[in-house]
């Protein structure tokens, strides 16, 4: 019986490796899920003397999308965001991360603006509070201001279909 021990241990290892092949070792889950969205008050892109804070979205389910004009992957997901905005599926607030205002405005003019408004985070400090470590990232926040889910990396049609829309439906039911 003892002779089979190495084989058994190896078999267990293989099981873990098989599971491992389906996981992404680089992806970091957010510890903020289930917690209140961190507060901030930041100026708004293209609106002088106006400021935004997440409290203004209380009572609504919304997306906070972290983007920048220098971000390549954002271009892939942007058409999807445009579509979501057109369908009025869910309000989207942009967080313009470590960017220049002019470049950001130009980018939106060219690629379309799905955002109700975009908040300026020039220093990246709001991003740090949200645990942002790459761009793009998208946070789903419920009507009580609690972060329900975080999408790391660009949104894809599959992610929208299989995760975002079902979650949205469930949240709307509980309102």
């Amino acid at each position: 019986m003892k002779r089979f021990l190495p084989l058994i241990i190896f078999a267990c290892l293989c099981v873990f490796l098989v599971i491992g092949l389906q996981l992404n070792p680089k992806e970091i889950p957010s510890p903020l899920i289930g917690k209140s969205a961190p507060q901030f008050t930041q100026p708004i892109l293209d609106q002088v003397n106006q400021e935004f804070s997440p409290e203004q979205m209380r009572g609504k389910v919304w997306l906070l999308n972290v983007w920048a004009s220098w971000c390549f992957s954002c271009r892939a997901e942007h058409p999807l965001l445009n579509e979501l905005a057109k369908q009025q599926t869910i309000p989207i607030i942009g967080l313009n991360y470590k960017d220049q205002d002019d470049a950001a405005k130009e980018w939106l003019a060219k690629m379309g603006n799905p955002y109700q408004l975009s908040v300026i985070d020039r220093s990246g400090n709001v991003g740090i509070n949200y645990g942002v470590y790459g761009v793009p990232e998208t946070f789903l926040i419920n009507s009580q201001g609690v972060i329900v889910h975080k999408f790391t990396g660009p949104l894809t049609p599959a992610l929208i279909q299989k995760e975002l829309l079902p979650m949205l439906a469930k949240l709307k039911q509980s309102i």
């Binding site: 889950p29 510890p31 470590k98 990246g124 400090n125 740090i128 645990g131 470590y133 790459g134």
Partner: protein
Amino acid sequence: MNQFLNTFPRIALGVLLNLFLLTSLSMANEAKPLADNPELEAKVQMIAIELRCLVCQNETIAGSHAELAVDLRNQIRTQLQSGKSGEEIISYMVDRYGDFVLYKPPVKSNTFVLWFGPFIILLVGLWALLRHIRKERVVARLNSDNPDDVLKARALLSTVEKDTK
């Protein structure tokens, strides 16, 4: 003679001035530390080497050149300047990025096996070795060349062990 007395002080002054210039120049040449406040920087380093960079995930925030790492180092510096302690800053980071950001895995319930497993296995291994040595010595005292006897003896010893437990 008068001329000499007139020029000597000037020469002396000139030499003195030159000496002064030279010494201050050599002191001025001493390269300054890169950081404005080296003591603070050293403290930033001590905290930064405990945190993993999330972009270049194999490096610490201290060594990484990624923009996020630079931002986080700045955060650490600002917080240290406002009087926060090392532990507070680290828990600040863990609150936002999770346990992954710790370079040294925390000792929690889900890492007991990681931290204590090796030592436990070492003890088990040494115990198994000792047990084997003792068993073999008993078998050897049988003084038999017949492998079947040896097998039987070993089997008996194992059952005896089980019974006496």
